[in-house]
C-alpha cells in the first residue's frame, strides 16, 4: 500500500503543477504570439549617416491591421554626445474598402529629432513604447555622424529620407522622395488679420495653395502651428483626407526653420508641421478634415487639445467640351511620352516588347491605351513607377512594358499611343503621343483561333465593351408581369380571423358554462331558498284552492331554516327548538332576534301539528317570518362589519 500511494501523490502534484504552468503560460504565450503575429508591427528607422550639428530623425513606427493602435509613453534615451527632443507623436488611419468589406489600417509614429555635435558612430536606442498595456522595444539603430560641411551623398543626405514605408502603410507610390523643398509660402501668406477664435497663445492652421481644382489635380496642403508662448507638441493626428490621394512632401516634419508672423498686433512663431500633396479623387465640395494635436507648455498646461479648421476644396471634372476621346477623369498634369519597341523583327506567333514611358509632373496616369492593330494581341502590361517630388510638385515617371503577340505576317504598322490629359497650367486638354513605328513579321499569318485569341486580346484587356451584343432591331413579344398587390387590411383580417374565431368560440362556450354554474349556485343558495319559501308561504296564505295552514306553516319553517343557515350558519333543522336560542346566542345573534326566531318556528310547528291551534297564530306568520329574515340579514351584515373592522 505504501509503495502504491507514493506514485499517486507524486502524480497528483505533477499534474497540478503542469495545469498551473499550462494555465498561466499558455495564455501568455498565445497573447505574445498574437501580438507579434502580425496584427501589430513595430519598426525603427534612422538615417545611416548625418552631419554634425544637423538634426536628423529617429522614428518608431507601429502599424496595426486590427483597428486603432493604442500606444503611449514612447521613450528613447540618446547616448552621450547626442541631444534629443521630446517625441513628436502622430496617428494615421486609413480605411480601405475592398469588395464591399471595410478594413482599417492604423499607424502610430513617434519621432525624435536628434542632433550630434561631434562626428562619430553612435548606437541609438532601442526606443520603446507601451502598446495595449505591453512595453515593446524596437531595434537599436546606428548612425554615422560625419563632420559638418563634408556633405552627404544625395544632397541633404539620408537623414532626411523618409522612413521605409514597406512595413507600414503603403504610400500610394511607395518610392522615396528626391527633393523635399516644396515651394515655400511667402511670409505674407502665413499672416492673417486675427488669430482664429481669439486664441492668443497658439493655434493650428491648414493652408492650401488653391481652393478650386479639377479631379486629379495637385493641391498642396500645409499645416502650421502658430504660437506666441513656448509649447511642445505631444501627439498629432493627421487629417482623414478621405476623398484625396495624399503624398507627403516634407521628409522631416517639424524640423524646418521656424518663421514669424505678426497677427493681431502679436508676434507668433510659425512652424511647419506637415505638408502633403493631395489629389482629389472625385468632383464635389471636398473636405480635407482637420489636423489635431496635443500640446503642453508652462503657460498653457499639459495635453491641451487643439484642432485646425476644416478646409473645403471645390473640385470639378475637366470640361466635357473638347474632351479628347479616351480621356480618363483624373489624368491631370504635364507629361511627355516616349516608347521603345524591341525587337522589330519577329516571327509569326512570336512576341515583341513595347516599353512606354510617361514622365512629367502631376498625377501620373495609371494606364495607357495601346492601339488596336489587326494581328496583334497585347498582354497585360508590367508597370513600374518612380514617383518624385521637386519643388513641392509631385511627378516622376511611370513605365508600361507591353508584350505583343503577332499572328500576322509582313510589315505591321503599330500606330500611335495617345495619352489625353488635362493640363492644369494651360487649362486645356493635351494629347502627347508617340509613334511606335512598325515591325517586320516573318512567316505566314496564323488564322486566329477565337477561343485562343479571346484570352490575351486587347479587346478583353482594354475594352470590355468591345464584345457588346448587337442591338435589337425588332420588338419581341413581351407581356409585362404585373404583380398584384396583396391588400393589407383584408390580409390582416384573413390572418386574424381563424384564431380569433376559435378564441371567440372557446370564450363564448366558457362564458356560457360559467353563467350556467353561477345560475345553479344562485338557485341552491340559502337566500334563494328563503325567498322561494316565503313566496310559497305567501301564496299558500292567500290561496283559495284548498291550501291549508299546514302548507303555510311548512313554507314558513323552510324559509326560517334557510334564513338561519344563510345568515348565521346554524343548521336549525337538526336543533331542538328549546336549544335553538342558545345555539343562536352562541354564534352572536341578538337575543331578541333569537327569541323571535324561536317564536315564529314554534307557531309554525303548532300550526302544523296542533289541531287546536287558533287562527291567531296563523295571522301575520308570513310577515313575521319575512321580518325575521330581514333582521337576521341585518345581524349578519353587522357581524360582518365588525369582523372587517377588527
Amino acid at each position: 500500500m505504501i509503495g502504491g500511494r507514493r506514485p499517486s501523490a507524486w502524480a497528483t502534484a505533477t499534474l497540478v503543477v503542469l495545469m498551473v504552468l499550462v494555465g498561466v503560460a499558455l495564455p501568455t504565450w498565445v497573447g505574445r504570439a498574437w501580438a507579434q503575429a502580425g496584427t501589430v508591427q513595430l519598426s525603427v528607422s534612422a538615417p545611416q549617416r548625418a552631419e554634425a550639428g544637423e538634426p536628423f530623425v529617429v522614428e518608431l513606427r507601429i502599424v496595426s491591421d486590427d483597428g486603432p493602435v493604442r500606444a503611449e509613453n514612447p521613450s528613447l534615451t540618446p547616448p552621450i554626445g547626442l541631444a534629443g527632443s521630446q517625441p513628436s507623436v502622430s496617428f494615421f488611419t486609413n480605411s480601405v474598402s475592398v469588395n464591399g468589406r471595410r478594413s482599417m489600417q492604423s499607424e502610430y509614429r513617434a519621432r525624435w529629432t536628434i542632433k550630434a555635435q561631434d562626428p562619430g558612430t553612435y548606437k541609438i536606442g532601442p526606443p520603446s513604447v507601451t502598446v495595449q498595456g505591453e512595453r515593446l522595444r524596437g531595434n537599436a539603430v546606428t548612425v554615422i555622424v560625419v563632420p559638418a560641411g563634408q556633405g552627404l551623398p544625395g544632397g541633404s543626405g539620408p537623414s532626411s529620407r523618409p522612413p521605409p514605408a514597406q512595413q507600414g502603410l503603403q504610400w500610394p507610390f511607395g518610392t522615396p522622395m528626391e527633393d523635399d523643398e516644396p515651394a515655400a509660402l511667402a511670409s505674407k501668406d502665413l499672416g492673417m488679420a486675427a488669430p482664429p477664435g481669439g486664441k492668443t497663445n497658439f493655434f493650428l492652421r491648414g493652408i492650401v495653395d488653391k481652393t478650386t481644382a479639377v479631379v486629379g489635380e495637385q493641391v498642396t496642403l500645409s499645416f502650421y502651428v502658430y504660437h506666441s508662448v513656448d509649447i511642445d507638441m505631444n501627439e498629432r493626428t493627421d487629417p482623414p483626407l478621405r476623398d484625396f490621394l495624399r503624398i507627403p512632401l516634407v521628409r522631416d516634419p517639424g524640423t524646418s526653420t521656424p518663421r514669424t508672423a505678426q497677427i493681431g498686433g502679436r508676434l507668433f512663431t510659425v512652424r511647419l508641421l506637415d505638408r502633403v500633396a493631395i489629389f482629389p479623387l472625385r468632383a464635389g465640395k471636398l473636405s480635407t478634415g482637420s489636423i489635431t494635436g496635443r500640446f503642453r507648455g508652462r503657460r498653457i498646461g499639459s495635453r491641451v487639445l487643439e484642432e485646425s479648421e476644416d478646409i473645403v476644396i471645390d473640385v470639378r471634372e475637366p470640361p466635357s467640351l473638347d474632351r479628347p476621346p479616351g480621356y480618363v477623369v483624373g489624368d491631370v498634369g504635364t507629361f511627355e511620352i516616349d516608347a521603345e519597341v524591341k525587337p522589330r523583327d519577329v516571327k509569326v506567333g512570336g512576341t515583341f516588347a513595347v516599353t512606354v514611358r510617361l514622365k512629367g509632373e502631376g498625377n501620373l496616369p495609371a494606364a495607357v491605351r495601346m492601339p488596336k492593330i489587326a494581328g496583334i494581341d497585347w498582354f497585360d502590361p508590367e508597370k513600374t513607377l518612380d514617383q518624385t517630388t521637386r519643388g513641392g510638385r509631385v511627378g516622376g515617371s511611370r513605365t508600361f512594358r507591353y508584350l505583343g503577340k503577332v499572328v500576322r505576317g509582313g510589315y505591321v504598322e503599330l500606330g500611335k499611343v495617345d495619352l489625353p490629359v488635362w493640363d492644369p497650367t494651360k487649362k486645356e486638354y493635351a494629347t502627347p503621343s508617340v509613334d511606335l513605328g512598325g515591325i517586320r513579321v516573318e512567316g505566314k499569318s496564323i488564322t486566329p483561333d477565337p477561343a485562343a485569341s479571346a484570352s490575351p486580346s486587347a479587346a478583353k484587356a482594354d475594352d470590355p465593351l468591345a464584345k457588346l451584343p448587337a442591338p435589337r432591331t425588332e420588338l419581341s413579344s413581351f407581356t409585362p408581369a404585373r404583380a398584384k398587390r396583396v391588400p393589407v387590411l383584408p390580409l390582416a383580417l384573413a390572418l386574424a380571423s381563424p384564431p380569433l374565431l376559435m378564441v371567440f368560440v372557446f370564450g363564448a362556450g366558457g362564458a356560457a358554462r360559467a353563467a350556467k354554474r353561477r345560475a345553479a349556485a344562485r338557485r341552491d343558495a340559502p337566500t334563494t331558498r328563503v325567498k322561494e319559501a316565503l313566496d310559497a308561504a305567501r301564496a299558500a296564505e292567500g290561496a283559495t284552492d284548498g291550501a291549508t295552514d299546514k302548507d303555510v306553516a311548512g313554507a314558513v319553517e323552510r324559509a326560517i331554516y334557510a334564513s338561519l343557515e344563510a345568515h348565521t350558519g346554524v343548521r336549525a333543522r337538526g336543533v331542538l327548538l328549546r336549544d335553538l336560542r342558545a345555539e343562536l346566542a352562541a354564534v352572536g345573534v341578538d337575543d331578541a332576534v333569537a327569541e323571535r326566531a324561536v317564536g315564529v318556528l314554534g307557531d309554525a310547528e303548532s300550526l302544523r301539528f296542533d289541531p287546536s291551534a287558533d287562527a291567531a297564530k296563523r295571522a301575520g306568520l308570513v310577515d313575521r317570518a319575512r321580518d325575521l329574515d330581514r333582521a337576521l340579514a341585518k345581524e349578519a351584515a353587522q357581524a360582518a362589519r365588525r369582523g372587517g373592522e377588527s
Partner: protein, 287 residues
C-alpha cells in the same frame, strides 16, 4: 350676268380650291403622322440609327420612348447599347456607362431570363471597374439590401399564402388542444406553436415583401460616383456608390415616396448602406 364672267373661271376657281384643300390636308396629315409616330415606329427608327452608328439619334429616339412611358425590354436593351457605344466613342459624356448599365439592368428586370442583357451588363460594369482602377479606386461590389432576399425567395402572394396557412394551423392547434387527452390533443400541442411561429414570420414577410415590390423601385447611378448623405446633408459612413451600381430607390419614411423634390434628393439603399442621393445622379428603372 353670266356673260360677264370670264370663260373658264369655274375650272380655274375649282382647281385653286382643290389645290388649297390638298395642300392643307397634306400638311395636316403629314404633321399629325409625324407627331403620332407609334412606339414601334420610334423604336424602329432608333434601331436603324444604331445600325447606322448614329448613336445620338438613337439615344434621342429611345429616350423619347422612355419619356412616353413605353416599357419594353428590347427598347431598354437598345438604350443600353446606345449609351455604351457613346461611352466608347469619340464624344463620351459623364454618366454614359451608368446609363448603359441602367438600360441593361432595366431589360433584365423586365425579362429576367434575358441572358444577353445580363452579359452586356457585366461588360459595362467591367468597364466601370476598369476605369475606376485607372483612377486608383477599388472595385466596390455591394449586393442588394439583405431584406431583398424576401422578394427573391417568394412573391408577396406566396408569403401571404404561407401566413394564411400558418393562421389556419394555429387555429387548428387551438381547437385540438382542447380535445381530450390523446393523439388529437398531442397534434394540437404541436400545431399551436408551429402555427404561431409561422404567423409571426410569414405575416411580416408578406407585408414587407409587398412594400419592397410595390413601393420600392430600383435605380442605377448615372454619375461618376454618388455620395450618400443623411437627413441633415452630412455624409453617411458609406463608400461612394460607383457609377452603374444598382440601388433601391424610395421608402424609409421619407416624404413623397422617398423623394424630396424641392431638395433634389432621393432616398436610396445600397446594400446595407442607406442615405440620400442627388435625384439627377440616379436613373430610376421602369418596372
Amino acid at each position: 350676268m353670266r356673260g360677264a364672267i370670264p370663260a373658264g373661271w369655274h375650272q380655274r376657281f375649282g382647281l385653286a380650291i382643290g389645290r388649297a384643300l390638298s395642300l392643307t390636308l397634306a400638311l395636316t396629315f403629314a404633321g399629325s403622322a409625324r407627331a403620332a409616330d407609334t412606339d414601334e415606329e420610334l423604336f424602329a427608327r432608333a434601331a436603324a440609327a444604331l445600325e447606322a452608328e448614329d448613336v445620338e439619334s438613337a439615344i434621342t429616339a429611345l429616350e423619347s420612348l422612355a419619356d412616353r412611358g413605353f416599357v419594353h425590354p428590347d427598347a431598354s436593351f437598345d438604350r443600353g447599347i446606345a449609351y455604351a457605344r457613346r461611352a466608347r466613342g469619340p464624344r463620351p459624356q459623364v454618366g454614359d456607362l451608368g446609363r448603359a448599365a441602367a438600360g441593361f439592368e432595366e431589360a433584365r428586370l423586365l425579362r429576367p431570363d434575358d441572358a444577353s442583357a445580363a452579359a452586356a451588363l457585366e461588360q459595362v460594369r467591367g468597364e466601370v471597374s476598369r476605369r475606376r482602377s485607372h483612377r486608383g479606386k477599388d472595385e466596390i461590389a455591394v449586393g442588394d439590401p439583405p431584406d431583398r432576399l424576401l422578394v427573391e425567395l417568394a412573391t408577396p402572394r406566396a408569403w401571404a399564402a404561407l401566413a394564411l396557412a400558418s393562421s389556419l394551423v394555429l387555429s387548428f392547434g387551438l381547437w385540438l388542444r382542447r380535445r381530450p387527452p390523446g393523439p388529437a390533443r398531442v397534434t394540437g400541442v404541436l400545431a399551436l406553436p408551429l402555427g404561431a411561429l409561422g404567423l409571426a414570420l410569414f405575416a411580416p414577410a408578406a407585408w414587407w415583401s409587398g412594400v419592397l415590390v410595390h413601393d420600392r423601385g430600383f435605380g442605377v447611378v448615372v454619375a461618376s460616383e454618388v455620395l450618400l448623405t443623411d437627413d441633415g446633408g452630412a455624409r453617411v459612413d458609406a463608400p461612394n456608390v460607383p457609377e452603374g451600381a444598382r440601388v433601391e430607390v424610395g421608402g424609409s419614411g421619407a416624404e413623397g415616396g422617398g423623394e424630396r423634390g424641392g431638395e433634389g434628393r432621393v432616398r436610396v439603399r445600397w446594400g446595407s448602406y442607406e442615405g440620400w442621393a442627388p435625384t439627377a445622379s440616379i436613373r430610376k428603372l421602369a418596372r
